[in-house]
Amino acid sequence: MTGKEFMLAALEAISHSIIEHEEHLNHLDNAIGDGDHGTNMARFSRIILSDLPELSAGNGDLGEILHHIGMRCITEIGGAAGPLFGKFFLQASISNIGNTSMDAANWVLAFDDGTMGVSLIGRSTEGEKTMLDALFPAVRAMQEKLEEGLSLPEIFLAGATAAENGVEFTKTISANKGRAAYIGQRSIGHQDPGATTVMLMLQALHKTAIEMNVK
């Protein structure tokens, strides 16, 4: 079971990780896109960090926190990533409005809803070299571990590992969506920056779950 404390610690860890990888994400985006994914995600992450005190003083409604993050994505990230990550958090928030705690099932459902939201707004699915190549496998892996009755750190670990494999997979395929689609076959060999960000998020979630020893 996790509450506000875990949610905010996880958001902090995610934000720090993205800021730390700003240059790396720009570099990845430069190869197949317009080279600003790191800058945009880091700008957003800095805003999230500055929002934390206010969120911490709030009523602890986890759905509202996720909704707030979603709106921040929409207004602050820009480009295609803004609505995509925004839709992820907004959809993930829906089943948690009114919840002051989230158990493993809530977390997996939130990821599942968020992923479907991204898929719908992006009119995209796995295999098109997008963030969905990290999200879909992560959701499947987490669902499997949830059904096996494992704890949250193990569930997040499975999600992070699946996302890492998903990122590796994006190197082997050509882009079918986004700006990278225009360079087609030349995008093979490069990993997708959006999928990489998803991986960083799951890794930070896992790290936070271990550190805080949540169940």
Binding site: G79, E128, G178
Partner: protein, 328 residues
């Protein structure tokens, strides 16, 4: 970098304010943002909304006014406006006749508009969209479709006139799509623009090189080669258009759009080359628009758009419009 600017971070907002100050009888800037709407709000006509990144001035706000756009929404430099800003514009101009969003086909623009439209629909606003993908330098077979270029301006003119006639939302959308189906654009660049935030050129191009098909933001084109004469450049470009769309025996509007760093003098030289070549091909030119309609800061280069006319489209093209840039 030599630019007459103040704070690079305030550039987009200062640009919007400057534009609104110039034409207060036409434009009204919404407080605290750079969303611009018409002074006289329509009450029973389909409202047209267009947005694109800043840096493409006078687009989008130069086309806000009678007979064209009801709201123009610029994003940050070369970045799509965000859904919250688009929604603000949509809500400001919406009325019982509904709203038509005109979108240039870039993933960022399409996704931001899609999300704003979803939000507007949840609030009970009737909103539809038309996506402009006129760049023949990109493949239409790709699932993302072609990029959108300056040809969107002609669709705004057509759809705006149809909306002023009092047609319903689906009719305005249908006419916009019909106009877009006979619209093709090809661009060429010979010099990058300088991004004000870092002073860096937006792309690399050799001192003697040009690139046909390059996008408005330096996206790769179809042919990089040494600079050619205006005549040879125009031939290469028009061949790409004519290979893609058959305009034989058609009457067309030609739009020659400067990217910001190519002087009007050259655009007129280019225009003569276009007229010569098209008449050889049996294509009749009804009217030609020449100017910097949708720029990329000071990028060197231009684009050529052809739009096929039929009697209805011709009447809409000729219909009255009063915006900062287009007046007839």
């Amino acid at each position: 970098m030599k630019k007459f600017i103040n704070e690079p971070g305030n550039l987009e907002m200062e640009t919007a304010r400057g534009m609104a100050l110039a034409k207060p009888h036409i434009l009204r800037q919404l407080p605290g943002c750079n969303v611009m709407v018409r002074q006289n709000k329509k009450t029973d006509r389909v409202a047209l909304v267009f947005g694109c990144g800043s840096g493409h001035e006078p687009a989008p706000n130069g086309y806000v006014g009678y007979g064209m756009l009801d709201a123009g929404i610029p994003g940050k430099l070369f970045s799509s406006p965000t859904p919250d800003m688009l929604l603000k514009g949509i809500k400001e101009v919406q009325n019982d006749a509904g709203v038509l969003c005109i979108i240039v086909n870039y993933t960022g623009d399409v996704l931001n508009f899609r999300m704003a439209m979803e939000m507007a629909q949840t609030e009970g606003i009737a909103v539809e969209s038309v996506i402009i993908a006129d760049d023949v330098a990109t493949q239409k077979t790709k699932s993302v479709g072609r990029r959108g270029l300056a040809g969107v301006l002609l669709v705004m003119k057509i759809a705006g006139a149809e909306a002023e006639m009092g047609s319903d939302l689906y009719r305005v959308k249908e006419v916009a799509e019909w106009a877009a189906s006979g619209l093709r654009t090809i661009g060429v660049a010979c010099r990058p623009c300088i991004i004000p935030s870092d002073g860096e050129p937006s792309f690399e191009l050799g001192e003697t090189e040009m690139e046909i098909g390059m996008g408005l933001h330096g996206e790769p084109g179809v042919l990089r080669c040494d600079m050619m004469s205006a005549k040879d450049t125009v031939h290469q470009m028009l061949d790409l258009i004519l290979l893609d769309c058959n305009y034989e025996n058609s009457e067309v509007v030609v739009l020659i759009n400067g990217l910001g760093g190519t002087p009007p003098m050259e655009l007129y030289v280019i225009n003569e080359c276009i007229h010569e070549y098209l008449s050889e091909q049996g294509i009749k030119i009804y009217d030609t628009m020449i100017g910097n309609f949708m720029t990329s800061l000071e990028m060197g280069g231009f684009s050529i758009s052809l739009m096929r006319l039929d009697p209805h489209l011709k009447a809409l093209y000729d219909a009255a419009a009063v915006t900062s840039i287009i007046r007839r």
